[in-house]
């Protein structure tokens, strides 16, 4: 694939992702807006993949390696912290307090 073909392909999926993002989020109730923020916060922790790729190729060059590794540290904090915080929040949303009856579906 030539460089330009790849670029066109990347732009295509970028545009599709924009619409997908709007579509998926518009179904989230305001009740869950904090977990939504925190969950998307965890998802952009995907920069960890970029950080690994850059740091991984940095063995020939100290500056690239060091800067890449700092990026790995920051991105891992983002990923782990993001998912853990979101999990803690979502764990709390309960339909009813535990002792009472817990029947009606969903």
């Amino acid at each position: 694939m030539s460089h330009n073909t790849l670029l066109v392909f990347e732009v295509t999926i970028l545009v599709l992702a924009i619409f997908l993002g709007f579509e998926v989020i518009s179904k989230v109730p305001t009740l869950l807006h904090t977990p939504l923020m925190s969950g998307t916060n965890a998802i952009h922790g995907i920069v960890i993949v970029g950080a690994m790729l850059v740091a991984g190729e940095g063995h020939k060059d100290t500056l690239t390696l060091v800067v890449g590794l700092v990026a790995v540290v920051l991105a891992s904090a983002n990923v782990v912290g993001g998912f853990v915080v979101t999990d803690r929040m979502l764990e709390m949303f309960k339909k009813r307090e535990p002792p009472k009856k817990d029947a009606d579906g969903s």
Partner: protein, 463 residues
């Protein structure tokens, strides 16, 4: 792992992220969605480790242990009331990572001038620029929310001109790089200037506008991640980053709409300054403030049919959510119907009040959104306003001179009686007067929210 297998694995990750967001449409399965997303993230990390080009495993693994360890501990230890600043912090480090990736990548790929394809250099500049703004802006938001620096807008003359100049210099340096002069120091300069811009851009924004800012910065980090995807030609980064960018943008617009203010007004309006003059003319002295005692309020609550609790940032500050829940339980055991009326921008991040009340084990069907809550106020006996101010200010409906005029509010003044729990008569954020406090059916219970609610609970018990 081969290149095609890797791309397919990344596709699986993308699908898990979409499912994670999709599952957030209901609290019943939202947690499962988040776990699916976490598994997808783990898959992407494992697959990336197996790349032939990725050497220095041990260094990377060590970096992950350090960063991940910090993230895990911080996320476990943080109190629910401190959640907005924690989200800001994690958001900021993500943005910082994106900026550093472009710095490292630029250093690696541009040993000589004019060697980069234009789209790659543009992506590098964008992720450096947006990532840095997100990093430093989030850190300022963190500092404001953590009260390390004052939450009120910090302004000075010529602020906008200075900010504009700093931003323009970033763009100019970027243009020089794209034109082919690929000097390393230019990208360092962009990162430094963009970080400065991020600081100056968040400083003038007041605490009550934080829900908009945090969600905007979240969108920024997503966009920065998508830009790193272009520079590394990596689909999972592009799609996941853009999903966050799009959703963060939409959420930001929704927050702006809930305040009836344009995003530019929130970001560049320096709210406190504009409002002071208009607000003072607004309170046309219709009555006097009526202070009351916990015992009187307890009687009202205990013999009411329907009570609506209206929480605001004051409840978060006082960490009163558990005490509120205790009071509500007590009232319910006496046969009083208790609901919670939640304004979309109450607190410091979107949906802040819902999370706090969920922490206190309030069942989520009792949490009413604005429209639903407003329909119920006319048949509500007592509205208990706990640390909320602007979101119940009737000036937003009727006084066109008020800075919050036009903002949809919770119409607590339509209920038979209103009890406002407040520390003192000091006007809240931006010094806007609230005529609700002067209404004949409003009573004020002064004191710390947590203490006042505790006194109410004790007084109801004693009845």
């Amino acid at each position: 792992m081969g290149a095609d297998a890797t791309r397919l694995a990344y596709l699986v990750t993308i699908v898990t992220f979409i499912l994670a967001l999709r599952f957030l449409s209901s609290p019943a399965h939202a947690r499962r969605g988040n776990q699916i997303g976490a598994v997808g993230m783990l898959l992407a990390i494992v697959v990336t480790f197996s790349q032939k080009s990725v050497l220095s495993y041990w260094e990377i693994a060590a970096g992950m242990v350090v960063g991940g360890g910090f993230g895990a501990v911080a996320a476990r230890k943080v109190k629910m009331t401190a959640m907005p600043q924690m989200v800001a912090l994690f958001n900021g480090v993500g943005g910082g990572a994106a900026a550093l990736i472009s710095l490292a990548e630029f250093h690696r790929m541009a040993p000589a001038a004019g060697s980069l394809p234009r789209d790659i250099s543009i992506s590098i500049i964008l992720s450096a620029l947006i990532g840095s703004v997100s990093f430093s802006g989030s850190m300022i938001a963190f500092a404001k929310l953590q009260e390390l620096i004052q939450g009120r807008p910090i302004t000075y003359p010529g602020q906008k001109a200075v900010n504009g100049l700093v931003f323009a210099s970033c763009l100019a340096a970027g243009a020089v790089i794209v034109a082919g002069h690929e000097a390393q120091w230019l990208l360092w300069a962009i990162i430094a200037a963009a970080s400065l811009f991020g600081i100056m851009f968040v400083l003038p924004i007041g605490g009550a506008d934080m829900p908009v800012v945090i969600s905007l910065l979240n969108a920024f980090t997503g966009l920065a991640a998508a830009a790193t995807g272009f520079e590394l030609q990596n689909t999972v980064l592009i799609v996941a980053g853009m999903l966050v960018g799009a959703s963060g943008t939409l959420l930001t617009l929704m927050m702006g709409k809930a305040m009836n203010r344009s995003i530019t007004n929130v970001l560049f309006g320096a709210f406190g300054q504009v409002s002071a003059g208009a607000a003072s003319t607004a309170a046309g002295g219709t009555g006097a403030v009526r202070p009351t005692t916990a015992d009187d309020v307890a009687v009202m609550l205990a013999y009411a049919q329907k009570v609506a609790i209206v929480p605001g940032y004051g409840m978060a500050v006082a960490q009163a959510q558990h005490d509120v829940r205790t009071l509500a339980d007590l009232l319910e055991s006496r046969g009083v119907e208790v609901t919670y009326a939640i304004h979309p921008v109450a607190g410091r991040m979107p949906g802040h009040m819902n999370v706090l009340l969920a922490e206190a084990n309030v069942p989520y069907p009792a949490l009413k959104e604005m429209d639903e809550a407003n329909a119920e106020f006319p048949r509500t006996d007592v509205s208990l306003v706990i640390g909320a101010n602007d979101v119940v200010n009737p000036d937003a409906r009727s006084n066109s001179g008020s800075p919050i005029y036009g903002m949809p509010i919770l119409n607590v003044d339509q209920s038979k009686a209103v009890v406002v729990l407040k520390r003192s008569m000091n006007p809240g954020f931006a010094g806007i007067d609230n005529p609700l406090f002067l209404e004949p059916n409003t009573m004020m219970l002064f004191g710390d929210a947590k203490e006042s609610v505790g006194k109410l609970t004790a007084a109801v018990k004693a009845l």
